[in-house]
């Protein structure tokens, strides 16, 4: 019990259960006082904390009787945190093509670096990518650390981990941001463990706490039902992966310049090897990059109706998505699936056709900029997140939307 830093004062707790209701982790229960040999009181029960507690303090704030208190936890970090300076972002590129998330990270990174009055640096890995380095200055980078090596031609988790961890240990940035992409989310966790610091996954908002000057990292949890703000107070760098397309891009300033720092290091042959790279999925499937997504769900009634979704997607220049129900019914391959067990997307426009809006689906798309929902059930939860909702028969409406777009 001593390891949970939440103290409940038995003389103050009135078993009002308010704390239980606000606890996001289900870490509090009401138990009979006699179970803990507590002195008799007019209240038969007392709040008890279990191991699900993360010391978030929600209950302490809520308790009307000041019956709860959080003990300070001492975390040890073997380095001196004041040695860590500057904001770093991981510049993601694939096949020499700079991914959009890189510009989003630089835009946000610039803002954070300005608040902290420190430099913004990008870390660029690859083969023959040196020429790309200077393009990052326009987006706000003061420095670009380049590791250009034929062995880095294709992405490899173990190699990327080696390179980025080495750079972090050498230059000691206070913050390191990467895209929450299938690359960023694969190797950044390994880097964080190697340098023994904290990492927050899939953030949707980042800001600096004005008093303590540390990074506040906000992310959805429980399938987007709640948001959690997380910090990493005693370890450096403060690391986060950031959801693609959520951060806004700045207007690049082509006149900006900066410093390119080329790093040479001896790379260890990785154990895992790529045999073949297949880009099987065309634009209709690259959901992460798509600005517009048209998704179909159970309301389509059958696989044949996905054709009208594809046609609408084509007419509007978007990718095709699907709900879990449609994928589970084998109407469309799994890589189209949007939602908690599928992909998380954040396009400019999301059109949900015949999708009721189960929370797992909402978790994957509710941060889209603009949402259109077409559903015959006026009470479908999808309408709660929609900017425009059409109540009606999608099999009639969707082809007419396609037509209206093509007619122009």
């Amino acid at each position: 019990m001593s390891d949970i830093p939440l103290i409940i004062f038995e003389d103050k707790c009135t078993a009002c259960t308010k704390c239980i209701k606000v606890c996001p982790f289900g870490a509090l229960t009401m138990e009979p006082r006699e179970k803990y040999d507590l002195p008799a009181s007019r209240f038969k029960k007392i709040a008890v904390v279990n191991e699900k507690c993360t010391a978030c303090g929600a209950c302490v704030q809520e308790c009307p009787f000041e019956a709860m208190e959080l003990r300070e936890i001492k975390r040890t970090f073997k380095h001196n945190i004041s040695d860590y300076k500057g904001v770093w972002i991981f510049a993601e590129q694939r096949g020499g093509h700079m991914e959009d998330v890189t510009y989003e990270l630089l835009s946000k990174g610039r803002e954070l670096a300005d608040v902290r009055k420190v430099e913004l640096s990008a870390v660029l890995l690859g083969s023959g990518v040196k020429e790309k380095a200077s393009s990052l200055f326009a987006w706000g980078a003061d420095n670009v650390y380049v590791v250009d090596d034929p062995m880095l031609e294709e992405y490899n988790t173990d190699l990327y981990t080696d390179v980025v961890s080495t750079l972090i240990s050498k230059y000691k940035p206070e913050m390191m941001l990467a895209g929450a992409t299938s690359i960023g989310r694969a190797f950044i966790p390994r880097v964080a463990v190697r340098v023994q610091t904290g990492l927050t996954a899939d953030c949707t908002a980042l800001e600096i706490d004005s008093v303590r000057q540390i990074l506040l990292q906000t992310r959805p949890a429980f399938g987007g039902n709640i948001m959690a703000t997380i910090e990493c107070p005693d370890h450096r760098p403060q690391m986060a992966t950031v959801r693609h397309k959520v951060l806004k891009k700045i207007t690049p300033d082509e006149s900006r310049t900066g410093k390119i720092i080329e790093e040479k290091m001896a790379l260890k042959e990785p154990l895992s090897k790529i045999i073949e790279v297949l880009h099987e999925m065309g634009n209709q499937v690259n959901l992460a990059e798509a600005d517009i997504i048209v998704s179909g769900g159970r309301g389509l009634g059958g696989p044949e109706n996905f054709k009208m979704i594809e046609e609408l997607a084509k007419a509007i220049g978007g990718a095709v998505g699907a709900s879990r129900a449609a994928v589970d019914a084998d109407w469309i391959p799994a890589y189209h699936q949007v939602g908690q067990t599928g992909k998380t997307v954040c396009p400019k426009l999301y059109i949900a056709c015949g999708i009721s809006g189960a929370i797992q689906h909402l978790a994957g798309m509710s941060s889209s900029d603009f949402i259109v929902a077409i559903n015959k059930d006026p009470d479908a939860p999808i309408f709660n997140v929609a900017d425009i909702g059409i109540v009606g028969d999608l099999t009639e409406i969707v082809p007419l939307i396609t037509k209206a777009l093509n007619d122009r």
Partner: protein, 261 residues
């Protein structure tokens, strides 16, 4: 061949509802389930058992109640299960969890393959698999949809945003598994009977010789400082779809008006 599958017991998020008055999660009556992606990881291990005679050990870190998730794995065909549980582990973030699981795995027979689900549906971090790989100094490949084992090597397919890669990696290795990898089997009646009676092995902080500085809240660099319900979207408009042509035209008009397209 020894395959270790790491699973997590999670609240079934499809049951999780928000209380509209207090804006908080309603947890009463929410079922605990095996994290869905972990079921896909287990299925891969069980296929390796069926086809190559692999030994399958399932391990979880969690409260004593997580035992029921382990029994389900036994019922489906796992050979051994281990519950890593101690109040000292309370409040662990992904770094502390990775450390704890890695220490626990080190007490088992040396694994050839360690499998995780892509991520857990309650935290959605996808960080513990790569974290354990790092601490055990094994290669890791994430987002796997196909696994083959031949001559001490793994052949896998790793999914990216726009395609996939065929990769090869020697054993031992760590993989994280996608849902599309397979359809998890159901437990047999015989399996259920056996699982019901099984003793569940427990590992405490002392049993895995955990450094007290590296577990639980003390070993967790990240700290949740605020929890809130995302603001609801307001101002959405409704279009009546009883006249489809009109509805379609109105929509396109509005999308153009608002410069969405």
């Amino acid at each position: 061949m020894h395959v270790v599958v790491c699973i997590k017991q999670v609240p079934d998020t499809s049951d999780v509802k928000i209380n509209p008055e207090t804006n908080t999660l309603i947890r009463e009556g929410v079922q605990s389930i095996i994290n869905p992606f972990d079921e896909n990881a287990l299925e891969i291990a069980l296929v390796l058992k069926d086809t190559q005679g692999a030994k399958v050990t399932v391990i979880t870190m969690g409260p004593p109640q997580a035992e029921s998730a382990l029994r389900e794995c036994l019922a489906r065909g796992a050979d051994e299960v281990v519950l890593v549980s101690d109040r000292a582990f309370a409040g662990s973030d992904t770094l502390a969890t990775s450390y704890t699981l890695a220490r626990a795995i080190e007490t088992l027979d040396k694994p050839d393959l360690i499998l995780f689900g892509k991520q857990a549906i309650d935290g959605d971090t996808a960080q513990v698999g790569p974290g354990v790989a790092e601490l055990l100094d094994m290669p890791v490949i994430t987002y796997i949809r196909r696994v083959e084992v031949a001559e001490g090597k793994l052949k896998v397919e790793r999914v990216f945003e726009d395609g996939y890669e065929k990769m090869e990696v020697p054993l031992p290795a760590v993989l994280t598994i996608l849902k599309e990898a397979n359809v998890p089997r159901m437990a047999s009646l015989k399996g259920r009977m056996k699982a019901k009676k099984a003793e569940i092995a427990m590992l405490s902080a002392a049993a895995i010789q955990a450094d007290p500085e590296r577990v639980g809240l003390k070993g967790s660099p990240t700290k949740v400082v605020r929890i809130f319900t995302p603001p609801k979207k307001t101002g959405g408009i409704r279009i009546d779809g009883t006249h489809p042509l009109e509805a379609a035209r109105t929509l396109v008009e509005k999308l153009r008006e608002q410069k969405v397209i």
